[in-house]
Amino acid sequence: MTTKPVERVDTVTVRFAGDSGDGMQLAGTRFTSVTTALGNDVATLPDFPAEIRAPAGSLPGVSGFQLHFADHDILTPGDSPDVLVAMNPAALKTNLGDLERGATLVLNTDAFTPQNLRKARYESDPREDGTLDGFKVHEVSITTLTIGALEGYAELGKKEKQRAKNMFALGLMSWMFSRPTEPTREWLREKFGEQPRVAEANIAAFDAGWAYGETTEAFDHAYEVAAAELPPGTYRQITGNLAISYGLVAASQQAGLPLFLGGYPITPASDVLHELSKHKNFGVRTFQGEDEIASVGAALGAAFSGHLAATVTSGPGVALKTETIGLAVAVELPLLVLNIQRGGPSTGLPTKTEQADLLQALHGRNGESPVPVIAASTPGDCFDVAIEGARMALTYRTPVFVLSDGYLANGAEPWRVPDVAALPDLRGAVRFAVAAGANGENAEHGFAPFDRDPDTLARPWAIPGTPGLEHRIGGLEKADGSGDISYDPDNHHRMTELRQAKVDRIAGDIPAAEVDRADPGARVLVVGWGSSYGPIAAAVRACRAEGLAVDQLHLRHLNPFPPNLGEVLRRYERVLVPEMNMGQLRSLLRARFLVDARGYNRVAGLPFGTGELRDAIADEVAAAEGRGEPERSLS
């Protein structure tokens, strides 16, 4: 514990920034772990380039990790960091603009060499030319101090010693914010279990960072952030990709079906493939296909064979899987398609977030090809959405799109560990066909693979190995009931309607849209979906704190929509739809419900800031009160 004075603050945003090779993601992730374990609410935003190692010291090579922690519940990783740790001039240059004057800067002053200043396109040294006026600047020789702390490690070269400088920075931040230190030491011992000397060296660097804060006069006091008051329960930290992976394992267990995941490496979805490949003792088969098409094809084959089948990818991968998803619509088999969205079009921004694949999920196939679509709103929500997707796919024998994105995938938050006994039981949704007519279909002419359950319109799931139910399926149009190939005009129209009706019917089986209401007189409704939940909710909260009347609605089910959605929308004078796309949900709402929904649209590869949304909402409230239309274009 520090002997210096400690100031209690309620919320802090810290950003670690350095070269791609500086270990900033690791330092940030570790800081997040001790912070969540301390009981703070946390939201994180890793932000890194697509290049594995851009040239050292260059502007494109800067990698950042931001985390926001507080003694109350928070919704976003924070608009503006209170503390920036900049390991080199490029990190300072790319991040300084996000800070407000008065913020604290910790600079690795060893890296501020003429060469690095040039690489960062600084014409003069920002430490000396007034650039940093108004900031609290701590110049720390992080590299030198780290090497000094490792003097006793003769077997390590200078380069290797330098690599521990992220641990020095982590140690200093741990001191500054009164984080416990022993868990990090333990974690380092475990991480480098095979190399105890390397573990010790990292611990020495970490301790040196902590001691630097404690002994240097420049740091006259530390801070602490008390634990947040979260609902009672057992908590852990989770990212969206981990949660969606766990959701699939849970769905498999709850359905009593083995899980088959087809994947192909693609950012930011690969971690789901990695994670699920670790859980073979749950009966999980993971298949890394030769391409995106093979990975969804194999998943569809596994679905035909009676597995809970899923494929995981990002937008460009969905483009390749499109024809197979259409086949899954035609053959009416359960299949989960997880799209961890990233910036587009084409290769776009692989490591940045965006929510611009909604219309691709809804409409990106040939023919009338309806597919249910749901989206996760927070990292932890990815778990529930995966289970809900499995429930819909199994119950209705249909492919289902589950949308996440790069922000949810890599962002972390505290997660209340669910009680397995309280998870939905999916066994009732499986019901393999065992004999012709056993599910109540017409069995007069033997097994009819396209006779439907009268409630769900699902067709029987008759898996190979079941005697007497041998049948053929395929992409050609099938006769209603028998499943024989049919080119009959009326049959095609009827089958088209049936496939649509089956998806529409899901609306009767999902919760009604529930508005978050603060003021019965609100005339403005903010509607969102996906990962913009946090920033929207934070902005709505900020508006309400200013006395503005505004309601919020966040949609999980995007196809079909909740059954009461049109009625809800029509209650409001103004409907604002903020999206990290050019207005995809908005156009659906306008088309479906004839409401004059307006957009706030920005595709910057980053989550919305609370401030920009607060302003957009306030404009809508002003307009609803007759104080003029916002100047912002409707895009």
Binding site: T36, T234, N281, E290, P464
Partner: protein, 344 residues
Amino acid sequence: MLPQVGDGASNGDARELTKKDVTSDQEVRWCPGCGDYAILANVQSVLPKLGVPRENFVFVSGIGCAARFPYYVETYGFHSIHGRAPAIATGISTARPELSVFVVTGDGDALSIGGNHLLHAMRRNVDLTVLMFNNQIYGLTKGQYSPTSEVGKVTKSTPVGSLDHPYNPVSLALGAEATFVARSVDNERQHLADLIERAAQHRGTSFIEIYQNCNIFNDGAFDGVRGNKPNQIRLEHGTPIRFGAEGEHGVAMGANGELEVVDVAEVGEEALLVHDAHRDDPGLAFMLSRLAHTPHGPTPIGLFRQTERPVYGDEVAAQLDDAVARKGPGDLQALLRGRDTWTV
């Protein structure tokens, strides 16, 4: 207990199947005179001999004339999309290694749009029996050149002759290290039946190229071999390679390390190459496949190569079993809780 689908083998009745049992009620819709009819009848006659319960057969196809095949076999069937049958079949076989999975495909489906999937299925040694009907033409789209059409082929899409160098499908399969590679002809009933039976019994990917006459768009493409027994170099394991009306020709290893066609009377039978289908190295089988680049002169048919390699679906299952043996069956609550938790 891990979630399971099926109990390994089917619990269906073990009664003897007949050809009628594996013939569906669907009207066969290939052109009259198509080579596909003979192959269908052949498969329907072989299936009952395999000792596999009917419900454990799965026929998967892509798009093309050959791809209609599953509709005519009274088993489980999946008529999928163009080129993707090996991928879908890989999922079926990996999920359920106890099933007997066939892929029925054509030269366009397997080697053009689906070339990648075929290669990777063979590389992985997925337990599949691939029947590739090669007619050297796109039939269902009414006559465009295919990746096995000869250079100079005049078709609707190549009015002044195709420029593309064709694949030799057997060479391709050997290059991908398929563990069972064979070639036969649609109307060689016994030869084809024997190979289909052995392919179905082989564990791993079996690939049979079947010369199939398209009498509408490419009639007579295989006349150099089909119905021309003297030009059929019939490969028999353990036997010197001879062919010709009286077996007067043979295949021998030349001085420069290449295979050459020789006169048996001239060199003596002891100089002929004795076919060894079970060599681990695919090199010699590859050289045999190069004896005829196009099927116009003497062309090898029969089993080029059969070796053993771990089967993909078995290995996937073994990793699961091993994980359970080491860690015990997964405990979902423990997984969700993880290691670093705190209580509020």
